[in-house]
Symmetry: C2
Amino acid sequence: MRTEAEYRQLINENLEAQLHSLGDIPEKLREAMCYSLLAGGKRLRPLLLLAACETAGGAAEQVLPFACALEMIHTYSLIHDDLPGMDNDDLRRGRPTNHKVFGEGLAILAGDGLLNAAMEIALKASLGMADLRGLRAAEALARHAGVTGMIAGQTMDVTMEGSAPTPELVSYIHAHKTADLLQAPVEMGLILAGAGEPELALARVYGFHLGLAFQIMDDILDVTGDPAILGKNTGMDEKKLTWVALRGVDGAREDLAEHIRQAVDTLSEMPWDTSFLEEITWENLSRVS
Amino acid sequence: MRTEAEYRQLINENLEAQLHSLGDIPEKLREAMCYSLLAGGKRLRPLLLLAACETAGGAAEQVLPFACALEMIHTYSLIHDDLPGMDNDDLRRGRPTNHKVFGEGLAILAGDGLLNAAMEIALKASLGMADLRGLRAAEALARHAGVTGMIAGQTMDVTMEGSAPTPELVSYIHAHKTADLLQAPVEMGLILAGAGEPELALARVYGFHLGLAFQIMDDILDVTGDPAILGKNTGMDEKKLTWVALRGVDGAREDLAEHIRQAVDTLSEMPWDTSFLEEITWENLSRVS
């Protein structure tokens, strides 16, 4: 198994190549898509997919299109989230947001393009496989990213802004807006490695706790973090339904620790050596504790 | 084979059911998606898919998820096209546009949701099939709708607005913005019916001419049409790269007739009775001549 840095390099080398494999994309569209797609970032979702796949006995090289597709879905959601009609953010990963550079029209199309390209790449890869694993992984991607998954969470986040935070509502938003796209890589990685339904169920439980922990950490950092280190503005969530609004900073820290514990516990129930997934879990959630 | 009206009824009855089959969609999101999806319209794309499939020996009932997916892609493109950051239209099919009713944020999400739902529905249907036809049809959908297809055309339409109309540029925009999503249904319908590559190539040629004719007709109607009959504002394309800007109304009428002729000629090369597809072609292009 590779190191985290080696997996990241593999992902970064492949993102543009996967887009390129689709054919002639108009230059301005390609530029707007790549501006956000190649802006760095932790690559947590594709990293998790490759790690999960190799943990369960698969080969990372063979599932790279799916890892890249997942990062494209994540990137499109950020571009659209930042639009004036949504969160109206002007800073992301230390740079101006997509619409600030390319204008709203092209930012909308770049987001649409990345979502569509993700599906096209996953489907082309699936057509080259001898069995239905690719199709099943693509279906999992569409399901977690879709109107009962990530988009459902974004909708509640946008439409319920300003209402009173209840545990049910904030949990729903976090579970879908954030956790769904962290369940997807683990579920997809295991499907592509040929794992069975009991393991896929564990993948979803793990991804749920990882996602909740990740979003709670994000909510805490919006209150306590340093914009220069985070590469984005803080204090943006004042009207948002956050875990800090629900439980305060100290309560949020407790819940964060509990979700990390449950995520790690769930990994230990899997029938493989999950130490690498455990390492990724700790590393990506250690910015507050 | 059914009548056009019966096919349309089949499509209209299934659109909401297909969305419903995905699970619990947040109420506001479902409402915004359905506002545009169920606003009527000619259902030309799903109608073509069902007609092409039955023309080549397939059964309409079995490919309804793909027909509905296609209409969802078409609808999402209209919602996003109408946004203030794109064409900034306030009237569509005789009603206020999506963002006028639900606000920009929800309109962006409703568009994203319809695109994602289309892929999810096509993939779920593909998983239930014994062979790879569904997967191949889903790939064709993603390809024609994507960054080398419809989105490429929309990008050039938005970014080249105001520049001089050349035959190459206007043809590129029309071929991708409009024709790609008319090639998709015929190609998909034939794939789902089990047709071979020579027939799929004819489907793309037919769809190309149908698409060019359709967009040229639209360009003519923007100049000569009655908003009350069209259900949308006219004179909106003044800065746009239209066929009328390129060739004038009379030249555009000539080219329209030529593309209709070539579309019908291409149908006659197919090894089936294509009279129903021919009828649809004439009916949908007869608003100017």
